[in-house]
Symmetry: C2
């Protein structure tokens, strides 16, 4: 830029570019709007960011993002007693499935997927923790709801092998989720259908 913007303005533009989908022009637009018309909103956002980073960690049981040691889903006895464990890649996937209202079991959130090229192996996505849960009493089905991408499928196969070796029934959500798409963006009806139409992995 030929114009010398104040350092504090430049830094805010740079920091906003860290947000997904925000380019240089959008960051500049956000910065000017915040400083011209939304200073209270900017302070609210700063506070929300700090508070969330300080307070939000991972659920000890399912690894999803939560402020408690155990998330509300894992803490619910009805869900624990269901004997169902759905494995997903991200907390956003949990939200998408919850919004269908069709699933009443527990989750295990990988916070990613296997990606050997990026050096992401089984322990990086908590599969050692998941392996321990497979010994849990009353667990009778693992539902694999990783994304239908190359990495998601590879991760699902890896977990299916693990579950098979422990003799636990394993299914993969099947219908409706478009191949190459991301679970988080699938509509509720399609995702509900994918659940009810799940197939056993033999």
């Amino acid at each position: 830029m030929s114009m010398q913007l104040s350092p504090a303005i430049q830094e805010l533009i740079h920091a906003l570019r860290l947000l997904p989908g925000v380019g240089a022009k959008t960051a500049q637009r956000m910065t000017f709007q915040l400083l011209e018309r939304q200073r209270e909103g900017a302070m609210r956002l700063a506070h929300a960011l700090t508070t969330a980073v300080e307070r939000v960690g991972h659920c000890e049981q399912c690894r999803t993002l939560t402020e408690s040691s155990i998330c509300t889903i894992c803490a619910n006895p009805k869900r624990r007693d269901s004997g169902l464990l759905c494995v997903v890649e991200t907390p956003a996937d949990v939200m998408a499935i919850e919004q269908t209202g069709q699933y009443q079991g527990c989750y295990f959130v990988l916070m990613g997927h296997l990606s050997p090229l990026d050096g992401i192996g089984p322990e990086d996505i908590g599969l050692d923790v998941l392996a321990q849960r497979l010994h849990q009493d009353g667990l009778h089905e693992i539902i694999l709801a990783t994304n239908p991408t190359v990495e998601g499928e590879a991760t699902a196969h890896y977990i299916a092998d693990l579950a098979r070796s422990r003799g636990i029934k394993t299914s993969r959500i099947a219908h409706g989720v478009p191949v190459g798409g991301e679970l988080e963006f699938v509509d509720q009806a399609t995702l509900g259908h994918a659940f009810s139409g799940r197939k056993l992995i033999d």
Copy 2:
């Protein structure tokens, strides 16, 4: 949402929705990405927001956003001595014009435009301050670069009348800026052309 998200996560999603162009889904995606993979970035953003809100105010002479009492453009003697004063609606417009590299005068930033229906009158956009500047020695042209929208044109006419009553030459940027569009999004070549092709308002 049927899933009970942690309050700190919910608040961050709500606060991100204050950003222009960010809807519920995007805010959720940003929140999860920040908490899953960019906690340092989130803290950097929180700090940048706080610092900018605390430090950035308005230039005493041109009203643009700056950390100093007088911005770098107003503080430049060559620009002051140019005798040119370009009136724009926002700091983003200043940046867009600076990027053409074709203008070497000063600016006056309205931080908006006249909008009687929203209760925005002349003093709300600093026209009382601008009126005082019209007495300044050596000022020989006002260039009106408000947006070519209904409000921008009305504002330009109002200022043109003001300048005419003080006997100061007044021009309006003319060619190339698409009617109904916003100055900030016009490419540099078009905007440069609009400057060189400006017409006197008689």
